[in-house]
């Protein structure tokens, strides 16, 4: 078995590191001049917390004050899933029977991961947590489950709907709030808490399946991507 060496040799890497050190020093000295109490919006966030529908400032910023950023970010994550499907549209490889250790681990870990993800999602309303973290944990659980042969990814329309669910619900809420209040993403009245909860839970679900899709598409030995990558010569140098 051939040992896989990096394309960039060690000497080159050391030279690169030495070359980048002055830049790092300049950046660090700039960061050193950040005032001890930098100006920020914490006071304004605190002043408007009562109108946000949640009690944790991070969630208030991400889902309400700057909810538009988050809507586009979830679209970016969806895009990553779409991109992986576009690169490798074929059926998944049948993975063999899982190793007994993995199967045993899965039996213990899978329910725990689902519970943790659900808790992190709910906790986002009042303490650190939320859709992205919950989706990451759930996604890791799904990847484990797919390695164990419990979950089998089928790139059909059902999967497309799961991947797009988060962004669809977010956009739907945005358009609905527009119709209700005349302002995009201005959750009317006391619906803010429920709007945020709906967005976050659907987004968490989508993020988890996007992560599973990324893993499955890019590692399935049968997909066109991995055959294309492993049969192609290394890229020619730039013109």
């Amino acid at each position: 078995m051939a040992e896989t060496r990096a394309y960039i040799g060690r000497t080159q890497r050391v030279m690169l590191a030495i070359g980048l050190l002055p830049l790092l020093a300049a950046l660090l000295s700039a960061i050193g001049s950040v005032p001890a109490r930098p100006p920020n919006l914490a006071a304004q966030v605190a002043a408007r917390m009562g109108d946000s529908g949640v009690t944790h400032p991070l969630t208030a910023v991400l889902l309400n004050f700057r909810g538009y950023d988050t809507m586009l970010e979830i679209a970016v994550l969806w895009l990553a899933g779409l991109g992986a499907l576009a690169l490798a549209p074929g059926p998944s490889a049948q993975r063999g029977r899982p190793h007994p250790v993995l199967a045993g681990l899965l039996r213990v870990l899978a329910p725990a991961l689902v519970m943790t993800a659900g808790y992190i999602l709910w906790a986002g309303g009042f303490r650190p947590g939320g859709a992205f973290q919950a989706g990451a944990v759930l996604g890791a659980g799904l990847v484990l489950a797919s390695l164990g042969g419990v979950v089998h990814l089928d790139p059909a329309r059902g999967l497309q709907c799961l991947l797009g669910l988060g962004v669809a619900v977010f956009t739907g809420v945005a358009v609905w709030s527009w119709a209700q209040t005349g302002e995009l993403l201005h959750y009317p009245g006391t619906t803010d808490k429920w709007a945020i909860l709906a967005i976050e839970s659907m987004a968490a679900l989508s993020i988890a399946f996007i992560l599973l899709t990324l893993f499955d598409r890019l590692t399935s030995p049968s997909t066109s991507l991995s055959t294309s990558l492993s049969s192609s010569p290394p890229p020619p140098p730039a013109a």
Binding site: S33, L82, E183
Partner: protein
């Protein structure tokens, strides 16, 4: 500005419509796809032109998303510059959608292309309409990742390695930009461009922030010497994607730089950065043109031409920056830069579309395979030649108006040394366009293989775009008047300049 018939919330329409189209085309059944795509493209264009008409009639618009308002929330903002970019994206977007509807042959390609393309369109419109430094980052990600995915969807080893290189450059650029935004926030506690007015680039922290922002944006705009990723990515993508990348995507990061430098940058920072950007732009014009002159493949030649034409965009910085001389001519240089972005979009879109039609018909795009196409594919060859007129900056094309205004402004502000560079760049452009197009007028080789049938809309979309690039020079009054709306120069300078 309160108005019974028009709410500022309509600013969100050019973003919401393509996003809904992307969701619809991905989630609905394939039978509805053609309808959703047509509706999405036309709807987005209509929304964009409604915003354009409103801004042209009543001046700049601002909308507080969620009703919060800056600095807590994010604001959408549109002035003349934003709506011109929006209109450019709408015209190119419709043309690309029409072209793509005839280009992809396999169901799998269509399924991959449409949602990602509408997300790219969403990202472009969102970028042109935001007033928030961090929101720019999110839209840049949307644009960058969809662009990489569209390059990679072709699937072959060449396209994949080009896409990976593009991805690395886009990620490094995003990282640098993001670092810059973090430092700006640490220094000022604000992200809204109006609140940052004149504050970027003060002190060592501000300079570090600015350096990161600029390097990140230059990498994404592919300004020399950060252009190496562009030719392989733009030339190996499917034709409608190449058109979108060269016509629109490189303009997005340029727009951020233009928007922030005239406004948010402090005068000192702009005076320090302007000449550097100008010199890099000049080098890009020379280097890109010379490379284009030596290419033997049509699509690579067009891609290197983009490297050169991007360079022209940056010549506006030294000429328009404060203290550069006569104020009226500074504003004229600024408008010239915007006008160049518009006419280059139409011309370059047309060229890549024509090249795609030729590649489809002949199967190859090296210069010898062009022989005889003048009589066998007259529409596509005309599109190439007409678009070439604008790239060479011959009258009456849009490219001519833009470069002529820039040239006169450079001379009038005492920076005559840019003039020979611009003229030289035009001559080189004539060289590389003629060198390629002349093969089309050679006799058809005796044993030339028959051409594959090309859907008519491919050739005619390219021709229409080329004619738009040509006609922009004749219809330049309206865009120039719109560009002056909310421009960062006193109004009277514009009346003088016109």
């Amino acid at each position: 500005m309160p108005d019974a018939g028009f709410s500022s919330a309509w600013l969100a329409a050019p973003i919401a419509v393509p996003l809904l189209a992307a969701i619809g085309v991905a989630l609905l059944s394939a039978r509805l796809r053609a309808g959703v795509c047509a509706l999405g493209a036309v709807g987005t264009a209509v929304a964009s032109f409604v915003v354009l008409a409103r801004v042209a009639a009543a001046g700049p618009l601002r909308h507080n998303l969620g009703g919060w308002g800056a600095p807590l929330g994010i604001d959408l903002f549109a002035d003349g510059l934003s709506v011109l970019m929006l209109a450019m994206t709408a015209v190119l977007g419709c043309a690309i959608s029409l072209y793509a509807s005839g280009y992809f042959e396999h169901a799998r390609e269509r399924q991959s292309f449409w949602p990602i393309w509408f997300l790219l369109w969403t990202g472009l419109n969102a970028l042109f309409l935001t007033a928030d430094l961090f929101n720019f980052y999110v839209t840049l990600e949307l644009i960058g990742i969809s662009a990489v995915a569209l390059v990679a969807m072709e699937g072959g080893p060449v396209a994949l390695s080009a896409a990976v290189r593009y991805l690395f450059m886009a990620m490094l650029g995003s990282l640098a930009y993001m670092g810059g935004v973090a430092l700006v926030y640490a220094q000022t506690g604000a992200l809204d461009l109006a609140l940052l007015e004149g504050r970027l680039g003060e002190g060592p922290l501000g300079q570090a922030a600015l350096a990161l922002l600029i390097v990140g944006l230059l990498a994404k705009t592919a300004l020399f010497p950060l252009h190496l990723w562009l030719p392989p990515a733009h030339s190996s993508a499917p034709a409608p994607v190449s058109a979108a990348l060269s016509a629109l995507v490189v303009k997005a990061s340029f727009y951020i730089l233009l928007r922030t430098s005239f406004g948010a940058f402090s005068d000192n920072a702009l005076a320090a950065v302007g000449p550097i950007l100008g010199i890099l732009g000049g080098l890009a014009v020379l280097w890109g043109s010379l490379q284009a002159l030596t290419q033997d493949r049509l699509k690579l030649m067009i891609a290197y031409s983009t490297v050169a034409q991007v360079g022209y965009l940056f010549l506006l910085f030294p000429v328009a920056m404060p203290g550069a001389g006569d104020a009226a001519w500074q504003s004229k240089a600024w408008i010239a830069g915007i006008f160049h972005a518009l006419s280059h979009a139409a011309a370059k879109g047309a060229m890549f579309m024509a090249a795609g039609a030729i590649l489809h018909a002949v199967g190859r795009d090296d210069k010898n395979s062009l022989r005889g196409l003048g009589e066998r594919m007259p529409v596509s060859v005309s599109a190439l030649a007409v678009a070439g007129i604008s790239i060479m900056a011959l009258p009456p094309s849009g490219g001519f108006i833009a470069k002529w205004m820039l040239l006169v402004a450079a001379v009038r502000t005492g920076q005559w040394w840019w003039a020979p560079l611009m003229i030289g760049g035009g001559l080189l452009a004539a060289g590389y366009v003629f060198r390629m197009v002349k093969f089309a007028f050679y006799a058809t080789p005796a044993h030339a293989p028959p051409l594959h049938a090309v859907p008519r809309r491919l050739e005619y979309t390219a021709l229409v775009l080329a004619l738009i690039a040509l006609g922009l020079g004749l219809a330049s009054v309206f865009p120039i008047a719109v560009a002056a709306i909310g421009a960062p120069f006193p109004e009277n300078w514009f009346t003088e300049a016109l």
